[in-house]
Symmetry: C3
Subunit: 267 residues, 3 copies
Amino acid sequence: MDIKTHIHEAFAALENTTPLIHHITNYVTVNECANVVLAIGASPIMASEISEVAQMVGFAQALVLNIGTANTQSIEAMLEAGRAANAQGIPVVLDPVGVGATTFRRQSVARLLEQIRFSVIRGNMAEMKTLAGLETKSSGVDSLEDESDALSIAQGLAKKLNCVIAITGKEDVVCDGTHAYTLCNGDEALRSVTGTGCMSSSLIGSFLGATNNPLLSAILGISTMSLAGELADKSKGMGTFRISLFDRISKMNASLVLEKARIYLKG
Amino acid sequence: MDIKTHIHEAFAALENTTPLIHHITNYVTVNECANVVLAIGASPIMASEISEVAQMVGFAQALVLNIGTANTQSIEAMLEAGRAANAQGIPVVLDPVGVGATTFRRQSVARLLEQIRFSVIRGNMAEMKTLAGLETKSSGVDSLEDESDALSIAQGLAKKLNCVIAITGKEDVVCDGTHAYTLCNGDEALRSVTGTGCMSSSLIGSFLGATNNPLLSAILGISTMSLAGELADKSKGMGTFRISLFDRISKMNASLVLEKARIYLKG
Amino acid sequence: MDIKTHIHEAFAALENTTPLIHHITNYVTVNECANVVLAIGASPIMASEISEVAQMVGFAQALVLNIGTANTQSIEAMLEAGRAANAQGIPVVLDPVGVGATTFRRQSVARLLEQIRFSVIRGNMAEMKTLAGLETKSSGVDSLEDESDALSIAQGLAKKLNCVIAITGKEDVVCDGTHAYTLCNGDEALRSVTGTGCMSSSLIGSFLGATNNPLLSAILGISTMSLAGELADKSKGMGTFRISLFDRISKMNASLVLEKARIYLKG
């Protein structure tokens, strides 16, 4: 697939369908995730009561599961919603926030991977190495890892888990087991705002709800956030940067991505 | 009641009393709701632990219940707080977010309506049609409904539920069973930010805590949000728009509402 | 200790160590707390699942407990995390939001004080009088108290609880049982934004994670917020003020604090 030929289509699909993106996500960045979904032109619904999630996800075009502040109840709701999504062919994104940090997170993600078929999994290098069963120097939710072997780890994981793997870092790697891309946009300032990772996953979910194309959606979700980070106003401080980021995302379009995104086919 | 003669009084009451508005609300827009209450000059308190809500609501001048991310526990807390509010004559607002979407939401709202006397219920057309027992084309929390029969639905519901009904949409309708008003302010951009509906309900609660006048409060809560939406800066994107919205709400006053609000008595 | 000679060291320590600050906090201002921790140069982790908090806090350099929307489950998680932090010598900050308002809050804080050794407790006058066993005119989470006896209350509490006490108000008082300081910066506008108190506690936690010096951290956490409030743009309304506050915090540094902070040794 020549990704670039599909970018106009993807943005048009978003505009034409306004897909509903069901989230079961953390309480830290949930408002940001809802707003980023609106900013890109999709529609968010957050619902995590176990007795309603299977019904709710039936209205959605994609489901985003994020374990940032997961607890035993929300993991059960994620399993319930994920199984219902799978049964109805609704694509599912996983953001395994800080999966390596605690036994609870590792076991919860293991259950999610066992019971749910994911279309895209996005995380940082420490999270992805944990999924790959490799040693990490995790400290909570930030990654301290060397990123030079991202490509081979992504390829291995994509094959093992049979889904698109997106590893975000200085350079991002997106791989579907057959093709791999590196994405070379972004700005350090994105690390100074909470939730830019979570929001990237929500953007991936938004494109996925519009296109049902996991590889394209992972690339566009991440590129949208990275480009917005490059373009946003960094002169006044992190408050203004955060607001400018939303401004830029709400103005993002296919032409801008085609002009500025540095997306390279690697294998 | 000639609504317009009471607008100065309502803003003055807010300023003189700084009413405390107890919320049991969703975790997506809860920060926005707290800030909007502060912006209009009231004081927010969010508390949802079932063993404390009855005691907490006793300090409040109004209670706002919003089921956006309700779960079985928070519904019990809402019932507990609502009954305590009723017993003490503290007015209660209901925002039945996405009530038509799931069985859990329908049953929860049915219990709330059975056990609590509400002063104002605010929702979109799909939510209100669900309350009225009518067919809807609900898709999660957004309304896809024709809004031409809003007036008759509001009138019917206001009589049936014996409270003020506020249906927000392109035009808003507010009705107390006797009098009905249409409100013709607002801006499409308000739909591009999460929580403008929730915030309208919190503004209604704020005016209600200051005036104990449900009809006036519904009109002023909605008009404040609509006017702020008209006046807010839409040139830079949705990040700036959201911030500008809070700026405008914090500068709202009776004279501005009297000058710009298009409030029409309909019956 | 001459506080001022340590201010450059404290900011340098933050920059050199990027301490991880574990929060168990309320769902209203949690995003603000995460962003303020990033703005000052530390790293936030929010996790409240009881089965993981003891493990998670082991990665952290400080723990912040905030009871703003505590429930029976989160209090158990706070106890678990606090005990683990104590066992590993990780300093703990308590923000007893609205402790006087309900029996649940009073009993929960009593349990926290019994089982956990705190380095800093920060609250408003009503909260601190409640901790001191004095009568209050509490109304929810805002303080209506006379603040003239803050110094003696802080001194008494610091000795009784064997920790640094910080009472924030028009003037702030910080006391470690031996030395007491008054802090005379700040701006009324800080009361028009939700979470400035919570954020002050998170800033204290950030400095504490970097320096392990409770008295210095309480002074710097509060002074950072107060100075940012003085410097932030108040001309456009509370939306812009809130954003400007984050801009100012992210630009805060030792020289600015030394130039502008009014910190007075009182005893």
